[in-house]
């Protein structure tokens, strides 16, 4: 198999290091440290092949007209990372137990050091993520970036949107105050209005015919383990397809016709 030739990162000429002349060469301690660092990274890279992957992922050609609207996708991803990281740390204090859940949330908000701040990041971050995901979806729609060959990436994005909604729904119960409780009662009953399967879906969500202690632990497990794993995996697939297909030019940029082809036509 021929070795894949990847484009080198475009470094402006002014920043390109000029090699030292042989007679100037002196081995200082900094040179040795640099050599050692390069050697260590090279040792790892030779075994991982990560630099080729990194160039494939990061040093892509982007079309003319790429603008700030193209950052909405990564903004959504960073909102998810914020949710994941603050969520993991909130789990250190949170107790998914019908008797203690509210008390543990109160402890996070009122007593734990920076608890109110980290909980606020998680709470407001969830709204930010939902807003960003819709802006990103609107950008994709209005720029026509869902068209061939990117249809599957749109489908993955819709799955990510649904999973984000499921995260919002399951996370809403966890503070276990009056608002959480009744919002979840109403939400589960909305699920139940689906004909034929609705009643069984409600029983599945609640873990029984009525709202019970196991409902809270079910929602916690779904919120904390099942959906985050699925979202992370689908974001990986989404990014793979973005890298594979590249980004689209904005619709107001027309493809330039090759001047030679233009002359041939006349």
């Amino acid at each position: 198999m021929p070795k894949l030739k990847l484009p080198a990162p475009p470094i402006p000429p002014a920043l390109k290091p000029t090699p030292r002349r042989p007679h100037e060469h002196q081995h200082t301690a900094a040179d040795h440290a640099k050599e050692a660092g390069i050697g260590a990274i090279g040792w790892v890279d030779e075994r991982l092949g990560a630099s080729g992957f990194g160039r494939w992922l990061l040093f892509r050609k982007v079309p003319k007209g790429t603008n700030w609207f193209y950052t909405l996708g990564s903004a959504t991803m960073f909102a998810f990372l914020n949710q994941a990281i603050t969520g993991v740390f909130l789990a250190m204090y949170y107790d998914p137990n019908a008797i203690n859940a509210y008390e543990s949330v109160r402890y996070i908000s009122n007593e734990a050091f920076l608890g109110e701040f980290v909980r606020g990041m998680h709470k407001w971050g969830s709204s930010v993520m939902v807003i960003l995901i819709f802006l990103h979806m609107a950008r994709t729609f209005f720029f026509g970036a869902y068209k061939y060959p990117r249809e599957l990436n749109w489908v993955i994005g819709v799955a990510l949107l649904i999973l984000t909604m499921a995260m919002s729904f399951t996370g809403y119960l966890l503070p276990f105050d009056q608002r959480s409780y009744w919002a979840t009662v109403v939400g589960v009953n909305i699920n139940g209005t689906g004909p034929l399967v609705g009643p069984y879906l409600s029983d599945f969500l609640r873990g029984g015919p009525d709202f019970e202690a196991i409902t809270l632990s079910r929602f916690y497990a779904i919120h904390m383990m099942m959906i985050p794993g699925a979202i992370a995996a689908l974001i990986g697939a989404h990014l793979y397809l973005v890298t594979k297909h590249g980004t689209t030019a904005p619709p107001w940029y027309k493809a330039e016709t090759d001047p030679e082809l233009r002359t041939e036509k006349e």
């Binding site: 019908a98 008797i99 409780y181 009744w182 009662v185 109403v186 589960v188 009953n189 909305i190 139940g192 209005t193 004909p195 034929l196 609705g198 009643p199 069984y200 409600s202 029983d203 599945f204 873990g207 029984g208 015919p209 009525d210 709202f211 019970e212 202690a213 196991i214 809270l216």
Partner: protein, 225 residues
């Protein structure tokens, strides 16, 4: 261009075709046998993990939950022209969340036209709004039940008189035992106040509603469960 080779199979047995077979005198090649065996082994290993986990997650959907009877007072505690709120415990493992308010009154033959039996000598109405499950409140001045969420209104017998609810308020079986009034399992009613297995809010029971929203194995009709 290489000459076209016509693949002529003289015999279906691997031995005759001089290919290694899975067993002596077999028709399946050793390669197909190993591939199939690997697929089968993988499928068995996957199912061994997935089936117990799925059963564990879906188990509660098929498990019947016992509905408790609660003693709520003496027979004379409840008038027949207005409602008295009582608190009953439906789940004892979720703290205050497992309690619910029930509106109780004595059966009044002048207004309660549904057939009388031993389980409706007292009328016990659930406070779950039949739109989406918010708690309704009895307003004595108007003799109606009002839901704060989306404006559902119910008349004195729990029948829908306004707003989005799809059926009258659910009821509970009541009985007299050892000198006390007891509130038992919940049941749902259609607009004729006929009894049905308990349904969730938002599920109509008139017309084809009772078939579109079937009863569930977790909770069934009947006072003795």
């Amino acid at each position: 261009m290489p000459p076209k080779r016509k693949h002529v199979t003289k015999s279906k047995y691997t031995v005759d075709r001089q290919i290694p077979g899975a067993f002596e005198g077999e028709t399946i090649t050793r390669r197909r046998f190993m591939t199939g065996g690997a697929h089968l082994g993988g499928a068995v290993a996957t199912l061994a993990i997935v089936l117990p986990a799925a059963g564990f997650a879906f188990g509660p959907v098929f498990e019947k939950k016992d509905q408790p009877w609660n003693a709520v007072g003496l027979p004379d505690d409840f008038p027949d022209d207005t409602y008295v709120p009582v608190v009953v415990t439906l789940n004892d493992n979720i703290g205050q969340g497992g309690k619910t308010t029930v509106y109780m009154r004595k059966r009044n033959p002048e207004i309660d036209k549904e057939p009388e039996d031993e389980y409706n000598k007292w009328v016990a109405l659930s406070t779950r709004c039949m739109h989406l499950g918010c708690p309704v409140r009895f307003v004595a001045a108007s003799g109606r039940f009002i839901c704060p969420c989306h404006g559902g209104v119910y008349g004195f017998r729990g029948e829908v008189t306004g707003g989005p609810p799809v059926r009258p308020l659910d009821r509970f079986y009541t009985k007299l035992e050892r000198g006390q009034v007891w509130v038992g399992p919940r049941y749902s009613v259609n607009s004729e106040l006929e009894r049905f297995s308990p349904r969730d809010p938002g599920e109509p029971l008139d017309g084809i509603g009772q078939y579109l929203y079937p009863s569930r194995p977790t909770i069934r009709v009947g006072p003795n469960q």
